[in-house]
């Protein structure tokens, strides 16, 4: 009989509050690691804040904000090796930056420009999944396929609380569990799916409880605690590489920003609760932690911020310098062996456009 593992319901935390709750530490992380995590958090925060500005300036299109989700992304990716695969949803659109992807690529994606395409194999970062949860089976398949080839790579699929209601999430999680695929199911539970609150999404006490039904471990972490996220992911990666199959991580936070630039949450969200969350947002908490350890000075924080801003300035300049895409791109990449009709269609289009 396989052992049925109860889900961990207590939220794991490492970072204290500087008052009654003491700081913990994560074994094996050096001071350099701690500072690199900070640099990554700042990179993502800066990307997000600048993107909102660029949207308001009309320089990028509709944008899905991930403010206060940075710890979940930076902490989990830091537990991966370069060979491991990342399957982002739109909420993790800039996660490729953590692998060295140029900011211009992601900005171009949000500008609706073809240079926002990337080859997933270049970064081991899959394309951004726009529909909800349908990439979970992809991550399961990739992890399973790597295992079948005798490779050690694992995969992480990122999705939100709403995605756990989708059939694709269920089918992907079940597939991965049955195949004992090296997969981490990373749920960023920010408690809102646009305007639908978690209690309208599920009757389960916790999302981690769903893991029990797949015969896999489920753990809950404070999603605004980058170190807790890192540690939980590292354990899941170790299990995955040991051949013990998937782990479900429920990282709990609260959406302190609109779902996307097209959303006005004042119709449904409690502004006092949002303000409360802003007080405990993930970057500020981590910086306070580093300062308590004496690892972060104002000058160092400013330098990290300046570096991140420069990367964004370069990124948006490069994205905006891209020439308008040629209509031929309509037909270029849909099929490896395109039909003759594509050539006829393009010729007709050029004739009408007078190009």
């Amino acid at each position: 009989m396989a052992q049925v593992l109860p889900a961990e319901r207590d939220l794991r935390r490492v970072i204290g509050d500087g008052e009654g709750v003491p700081d913990g530490e994560v074994e094996g992380l050096s001071e350099d690691d701690l500072l690199e995590l900070h640099r990554r958090l700042v990179q993502l925060r800066t990307y997000d804040e600048r993107s909102l500005v660029y949207h308001r300036q009309g320089r990028i299109g509709t944008y899905a904000i991930f403010w206060n989700h940075e710890a979940m992304q930076a902490g989990s990716v830091y537990a991966l090796e370069r060979e491991d695969w990342i399957f982002p949803s739109y909420r993790e659109s800039a996660i490729g930056l953590l692998r060295g992807m140029p900011a211009s690529t992601v900005l171009s994606w949000w500008r609706g420009h073809p240079t926002g395409w990337w080859n997933p194999a270049d970064w081991n970062v899959a394309s951004i999944c726009v529909p909800i949860g349908t990439h979970v089976p992809h991550a399961a398949g990739l992890a399973w396929g790597k295992k079948l080839r005798g490779e050690s790579a694992c995969a992480v699929a990122y999705f939100g609380d709403g995605a756990t209601s989708e059939g694709a999430f269920h089918e992907g999680a079940n597939f991965a569990a049955v195949m004992r695929a090296p997969l981490i199911l990373f749920c960023n539970n920010n408690q809102w799916a646009i305007s639908t609150p978690l209690e309208a999404q599920t009757a389960a006490e916790t999302l981690a409880d769903k893991a029990v039904g797949y015969g896999i471990p489920g753990v809950r972490v404070d999603g605004a605690d980058v170190l807790a996220v890192y540690e939980a992911t590292r354990e899941a990666v170790t299990r995955a590489r040991a051949g013990d199959g998937p782990t479900f991580i429920e990282a709990v936070t609260y959406r302190a920003a609109p779902h996307a630039t097209a959303d006005d949450p004042s119709a449904y969200i409690d502004p006092a609760r949002v303000e409360e969350e802003k007080e405990r947002e993930c970057l500020g908490r981590y910086e306070a932690y580093l300062r308590r350890l004496g690892l972060l000075s104002d000058e160092a924080a400013e330098a990290v911020r300046a570096e991140a801003l420069e990367r964004m300035r370069e990124g948006i300049a490069q994205a905006e310098a891209e020439p308008a895409p040629d209509p031929a791109l309509l037909f270029s990449h849909a099929l490896a062996s395109p039909p003759a009709s594509f050539d006829q269609d393009l010729a007709e289009l050029r004739r009408v456009l007078g190009g």
Binding site: W144, G145, E171, L335
Partner: protein, 324 residues
Amino acid sequence: MAELTLVEAINDAFHVELERDPDVMVMGEDVGRAGGVFRATAGLRDRFGPDRCVDTPLAEAGILGSAVGLCMAGWRPVCEMQYDAFSYPCLDQLITHVGRYRWRTGGAMEFPLVVRMPYGGGVRAPELHDDSPEAYYVHTPGVKVAIPSTPADAKGLLAAAIRDPDPVVVLEPKLHYRTLRGEVPEGEHVVPLGEARTVREGTDVTLVAYGAMVPLAEAAADALDDEVSTEVLDIRTLKPLDEAALLAAAAKTGRVVIIQEAPRTAGYGAELAAILAEKAMLDLRAPVVRVTGYDVPYPYWQIEDAYMPSVERVVDAARRLLEF
């Protein structure tokens, strides 16, 4: 040459292709231990192991979705959908990802997967074992669609689908899995995608069909033999279509009957008719007509014969064109 049934020819294609290419794997419901509910995958699990002929959970979207990930890991998965109408849950993955992923990567990544399924009626089966869903698949950009009508083509088109760098959906006429026998080339046999087949030459009227409707068209041509000379064209690959073959077959007789088992409205026959309207008007001597299923749910089997296109309906349509 061996004399095989249509489903034996499919099984033969699998044995040849899995032997030829170690990246090819088969996955689906009951494909391993049972060898498939129609035995299309019989013997593969024993010969190639449970990792290359995989019994999956009952989850059509999960099968196709994980096949996308398997492609990213370098595999060439062939997914079986147990029945035509059970494939509908996989449409989500097909439309949102399978047909788009290559495009989404700027052509950098290939998704050489195959979805195959038995399709069509006339088999006295319960509801939802009888559908002809080809239009849904054909309408999805980024995927190719083939439907064989003979054992040799069933082997050759499946082999072509497996070797193709793009996603291909293959629908197999289950009515003829065991009722049709034919000569099938042994060993490697590939029928290129995008090439129609002239089944018989004629000068007075052209019957255009695919899959299970091809033998029906041949029977109708036989019935018309005393009156007229009938051309029969087997489309074989619905996308990409062999448009030149369609236009040539239409020009030869100037009278075209399109036969389609699926419901009429916005079916594949409508696309063929539209192409003829756009490009063959001066070659036509009569309107293009369709003989199709009706715009109703596929019926209970005691009246399915009234739903299915029949020799009588095809002959009637041909005569109407000749009298036009």
